[in-house]
Amino acid sequence: MSVAPRPKPFLEPQYCKGCLRCIEACPRECITPGSEINPATGLVPVELHLENCNGCTLCLQACPEPYGLRLETDPPAPAFAPNGDFELEDPAKLFGERCVANYSEGDQPDDQIALPACEPLVLKGTYASAIGALLAGCRHVFGYPITPSTEGAELMAKILPKLDGAFVQAVSEVAAVNMMYGAGGAGLPCMTFTSSPGFSLMLEGISYMIGAEVPGVFVNIMRAGPGLGNIAPEQADIKLACRGLGHGNTRALVLAPSTPQEMLDLTREAFALSFRYRNPVIILGDGYLGQMTGMVKLPPTMTRPGLPAWAVWGDRAHRHNLISSIALAEADLETHNQHLNRKYAAISACEQRVECHRCSDAEVLVVACNTPARMAKGAVEAARAQGVKAGLFRPITIWPFPIDTLAEILPGVERIVVVEAGPGQLEDELRLALSHAGIAPPPIDHVRRCGGILPAQSAILEGILQGEEVLS
């Protein structure tokens, strides 16, 4: 009884680098070092002498090149087909049905699920943010405990397992942000809660996420620095979020809530923005805001996330996708940066947000965000009571800075007072925005505290009144 001969190896010499690993592998000495330089590669491929070959394929297993030694029965190199597909054995047959449906090609859109009307909640800021994330469809949270942000993670750790989601306490913030890179790269909304020192550690990962265009939401409940500093509130990371998101050409929308209600609303919105632009979104709160309890009303709908076409999901429809921030050729990387720049320009043009309180006739314009903006609002009211035309300009996006609205207000403004719980990072953003817009501002004063102390309303009032003729 004769057995059909097994297929033998063959070699396309241009794909052999002449490493000779196959020679040792062959028990029948069918392969010898070559003697001729291949003109296409400059390398010397091996030579096959297959008279004694029995098709054992051990040489193939030794070959480091995918298209080096192959079997004569393998298909020849096809014409270039970038999205060529293969007939595969149905995995379901091998390993049973999957519990998650396969998605078809293209973007699977989000659903909006109606919620019944609810009583207002009384929540602290971190909880409000967590619930905003749940209602935005986030079911994957990765984090590392750090005061004063931890309660958000704790609430997620309690709730997510009951919703078949996942909360992972990572070994570090570095690991947490890279878990986000994975889950976000798979196309799902994910987030973390952190605070300043932890945010510093996440910056590497954020740079990769921006480079690879991976969405994700970072809630940074800022505390006082530098170094370990303390756990009291400070607006210490405006510089990092607006100017220093890791290495390279990085930008992200930076949202600055000032109430527990905004913690919920802006967190929820951050997910939509993050997917719209395929970019991380940073929420900067401060220690007070994270811990502050207040009234929070729920929105009328909850998002059930779809799946974007670009996701690396792990199914046939998404098999050709790649999440990567590397572009080895200089020209490719420049092109990618130009693409990012267009995206940043679109964000700058479309996403500036601000609350203007009594700005229309303001002569003294107070610029403040987060909790200090609440003190500032109180001071503006107090100044108005004394007949001073003060107004509050509260950026809700710090990047992009709401310069367009500011430009409209500024002609009547005689003086700007920047109020911040920090060393002047908000003022830097203001000055940069003015400079880029080519606007010569009126004199800029400031009221600043740092170390975890918020500017008092009385000090802000003093800053407003300085040089003002006080009526009454």
Partner: protein, 477 residues
């Protein structure tokens, strides 16, 4: 070999020979391992489901070659990225492919912590005892005496001794399967191929985390021919990194996750939300005219355990329930684990502006240090209420403030539970200020204690006793 792209269009834009040729040096072990991995993916029929995480190092470009879902991770973070993918889509087959610098140096924390989590992912570790991409520097797995560009006189103990990752990972409880294999002979290559297939099968079947260490050749940076490099791995590396199965548990498939829930009832319930009840009787309060301000700041201060935080939240909830705005800010951090604990509450007719209470109109002090610290911050005309059971000598308190010494602890103790002194304080505060509508705080107590009804009578009594104590204190003698 279908797990490889027909055409490496990501490799130098797929032009010329690079369309079917790797970026690896001649004789590199990565290429052999790639073929083994591709064979396993093919044989298991999982190409569509596979997500390959490329590391930083020479195999950073693994995504050039594998026709699967690809994600390229930051240096050392591949297991974290893999975990993110696995949790996002548990049916994906996620493979983290890493070199020695990536896995055993910069990514050590991720490597170990995620191995210990034990979720079914597959880690393929290429250990060639040297840094390739950066050009031949010392690796965590370089051998003693090995000369590299950063150990020019050979590795000595003070540079760290070779890290035996397979043994380290096998010592953890998380992984189910750990094996070290090699590529230097036909026999070892057959074993390597089998091990990779088994490691992936463990994941596909939901049995757990698997780790395959492959001791491998880097002829270029060992400055050897591929044959010499194979010999070097066999004679020098293998004695330090012994081959074989380091751990192989028989574990029944266990990993199965459902799709996340988006049921409104479940999400709202877990968030603590309650359906709006239109028929529920509601008290909408008017701001009391007797107060000189439209936004009142109240500081509650005591030791941890005095209940200042709970009292602050009860006040805030009540004020919001009757249509005012209110905020509460706790002191937090180390001091909340003992020592002083205080809370700033603001209640405003319209909108709380400044939520801090640095100059509170009202101070409730549960102990002497709190009274001493905060009484001077109360402006003239303000109210200072303190626990006269605890503070027997209040010292000199600022003039021009209403001072109310109330024996909160004694009243609470008379009711049988000293810990309700914070509710006694709320009753006292209500009588002293008349800020919130009659009984609105009792309604809040009923609401928050709805699942502990046994505690309600005690709390109601405490509240009433607090009110009575102030009323008798204020009654004309």
């Amino acid at each position: 070999m279908s797990a490889f792209y027909d055409h490496f269009s990501r490799h130098a834009h797929g032009e010329g020979i690079k369309a079917r040729s790797t970026h690896y040096c001649p004789g590199c072990g990565h290429g052999v391992a790639h073929r083994d991995l591709a064979a396993a993916i093919d044989e298991l029929g999982i190409q569509d489901r596979t997500v390959l995480i490329s590391p930083v190092g020479c195999s950073v470009f693994a995504y050039y070659y594998f026709d699967v879902g690809n994600s390229q991770a930051a240096h050392g973070r591949a297991p974290a990225v893999a975990l993110g993918h696995k949790l996002a889509h548990p049916e994906a087959v996620v493979i983290s492919y890493q070199g020695d610098g990536d896995l055993a140096s910069i990514g050590l924390a991720e490597t170990i912590s995620i191995a210990q989590m034990g979720l079914p992912i597959t880690v393929i570790f290429i250990n060639n005892a040297i840094y390739g991409m950066t050009g031949g520097q010392l690796a965590p797995t370089s051998l003693m005496g090995q000369k590299t560009s950063t150990s020019p006189d050979g590795r000595v103990a003070a540079m760290g001794q070779p890290l035996k990752m397979a043994e380290l990972i096998a010592s953890l409880d998380g992984p189910v399967y750990v094996e070290r294999v090699a590529l230097f002979s036909a026999r070892e290559r057959v074993k390597a191929r089998k091990a990779i297939k088994k490691a992936i099968t463990n994941q596909v079947e939901g049995r757990g985390y698997s780790f395959i260490e492959i001791i491998s050749e880097c002829p270029t940076h060992l400055k050897m021919s591929p044959q010499e490099a194979e010999e070097w791995v066999k004679t020098k590396m293998e004695p330090v990194f012994p081959l074989g199965v380091k751990k192989d548990l028989t574990v029944e498939p266990w990993f199965k996750r459902g799709a996340p829930s988006f049921e409104p009832e479940a999400v709202l319930g877990l968030s603590g939300a309650e359906r709006l009840d239109e028929d529920k009787p509601r008290t909408i309060a008017n701001w009391p005219d007797h107060l000189p301000v439209r936004d009142i700041a109240i500081k509650l201060a005591g030791s941890g355990g005095d209940g200042a935080q709970t009292a602050a939240l009860l006040l805030t909830r009540t004020a919001i329930s009757v249509g005012f705005d209110a905020t509460a800010i706790p002191s937090y951090g180390p001091e909340s684990r003992g020592g002083t604990s205080y809370a700033d509450v603001h209640i405003a007719e319209q909108e709380v502006l400044n939520p801090a209470a640095s100059e509170p109109q009202v101070l409730v002090a549960f102990n002497a240090p709190s009274l001493a610290k905060f009484a001077p911050t109360v402006p003239a005309g303000g109210l200072i209420l303190y626990d006269s059971t605890v503070v027997t000598d209040p010292g000199r308190l600022p003039a021009g403030r209403r001072i109310l010494p109330i024996p909160l602890t004694r009243i609470a103790a008379d009711l049988g539970r000293p810990m309700v002194k914070n509710v006694v304080a709320l009753g006292a505060l209500q009588s002293a200020l008349n800020l919130l509508p009659e009984d609105s705080l009792v309604a809040t107590l009923r609401h928050v204690l709805h699942d502990k009804p046994a505690l309600l009578p005690l709390n109601e009594s405490a509240y009433a006793a607090g009110r009575a104590a102030v009323e008798s204190a204020l009654a004309p003698a």
